[in-house]
Amino acid sequence: MTGNLHIYVLALPLVGALLVNLLGRYSLRLVPPLVLGALALSFAAALKVLSGVLEHGAFSYTVGNWQPPFGIELVVDHLSALMLVLVSAVALVASFASLHSVARELADRQQHFFTLYLILIAGLHGLILTGDAFNLYVLLEITSITTYGLIAMGRGRAPLSSFNYIIMGSIAACFYLLGVGYLYILTGTLNMADIAHIFPTVQGNVAVATAFAFMLIGLWIKMAFFPLHGWLPRAYSDAPIGTGVLVAPLMTKVTVYLMIRVMFSVFTPQYEFFQHPGVQNAIVWVAALAIVCASILALGQRDLRRMLTYIIVAEVGYMVGGVWLANSQGLTGAILHIVNDALMTLCLFLVVAAIASRVGSLHFDNLTGLYRKMPLTMAAFTVGAFAMIGVPPTCGFYSKWYLILGGIEAGQWPYVVALVFSSLVNAVLFFRIIEIAYFRTEGDGHVPLPGPIAEAPQMILQPLLLAAVALILVGLATGPLVEQVIRVAVPGGL
């Protein structure tokens, strides 16, 4: 019974999704309890899985009771258990805000929205658990198709952005599938552990290098790594608010996790990092470039949501660079940053939801004097901004610390410089908004905000405050988190 717990983490949102569509048609009042119930139970199960893994160690599970290379294997280790908890927690918190904003924005299609929403969460859980290269492709497509739909439900330009995302996302999935196909033709298996087992015998082949390159490029497109990021800013900023709150914190981070999975479970660090140091060096350089360029692009934005999407692109550069530093400090920093960045982005996108629910527009000019009207929201925003900049008590500081340590250890100075530069740019970006919201008044010749504006509704405010507190708590708990979970998760050979 307890051996199946991690399956319930995935199956509960899935069954919930089907029930939302079946029952939501008759009464929309059934939607919130179903969504929240499924996600809360899934979160509880994920916590139980993590504590079980911490107590008894990692284990593998085969669906349908077949021997691993024949059936599909699921891997529950420290890293995936941590990610399960992260995804289910973020999904649960975000769903409150989504429920509120979707009920206003898309009242008559709530059941469709939340069916896709829950399937997306189930797909993310599946991605985290899977130990099979082809199953990963199927789940990648599930998360993509649901995201296309969730974005296309927006107004205005949303369908066009969604279509661009379809083209780019499909190229990414096809590239990944090509890589899997090449590996299959060479090794005859799809199970990640089995491929890793056969890997030494085919290591020198050109086809293996091709497969690795295509899988990696596919995942990079999905996570919007800098030169391939074109689809992300439009897709995330045209989406309905309820979509952004879930998709922005989770999608890119889970894809970074997948890159770590593929790099360390299918291929070996020896192969990736040390046989061709030139490639490793070049990728760290590209990551540094990604951080710098995305930060500069963020400076040019005059809309809060657009600015945050470019910051997401910059953060992807942090994590990819951290993984490719090829030392355990960098990898620790990257994994810690996955957790922290998901929470920071969640906090900031909840602020976006709060402001959108009261002000409507997210243009900088409309934020004038907002702190007096929405003090709690803007306080949470400040905490989120400090975390993004990397001010010590918040969690953002610690992961950046590890990343910089890793960069120094590897002697990758451009990466370290890019990290510091990006922190400075973030400081400029956020203090600009804080200045507008705190110090500028409507008397200075700025357009006054239309109508009376009150604090954000409770459905958004409570999760927002929770997320802001979590930023500080996770920051304070970094020590045990790194010692007990992430250090164990970092694979050997580094």
């Binding site: 290379p69 299609r109 399937i119 599930i142 090449y182 033709i185 090794t187 005859g188 050109v206």
Partner: protein
């Protein structure tokens, strides 16, 4: 733009073709793909599932988890088309 796309496509194609250098010839019964997993499916499939159509056996049972998500994928597509298309005309 078109030239750039053409170069990118040529590069991708050349890389993929270069990768096939190490592949076994077409239809080779000694290829790894034919030697590692599939013999077990063919030999044991009927015995273990009592289904003579091995494709169905692998689809429904050995890789049933994949097929479950495949069903969910097509279900999602239906919901997306309903959610993104139905009833939008008046709003726009």
């Amino acid at each position: 733009m078109k030239k750039l796309a053409f170069v990118a496509v040529l590069l991708t194609g050349a890389l993929l073709l270069y990768g096939t250098k190490d592949f076994p010839a077409w239809g080779d019964p000694m290829a790894p793909a034919a030697q590692h997993l599939s013999p077990t499916y063919i030999e044991k499939g009927v015995e273990q599932t009592h289904v003579p159509n091995i494709v169905t056996a692998v689809l429904g049972d050995y890789r049933g988890y994949d097929t479950m998500f495949e069903t969910v994928v097509i279900y999602c597509a239906g919901i997306v088309v309903i959610g993104a298309l139905r009833g939008w005309r008046e709003d726009e």
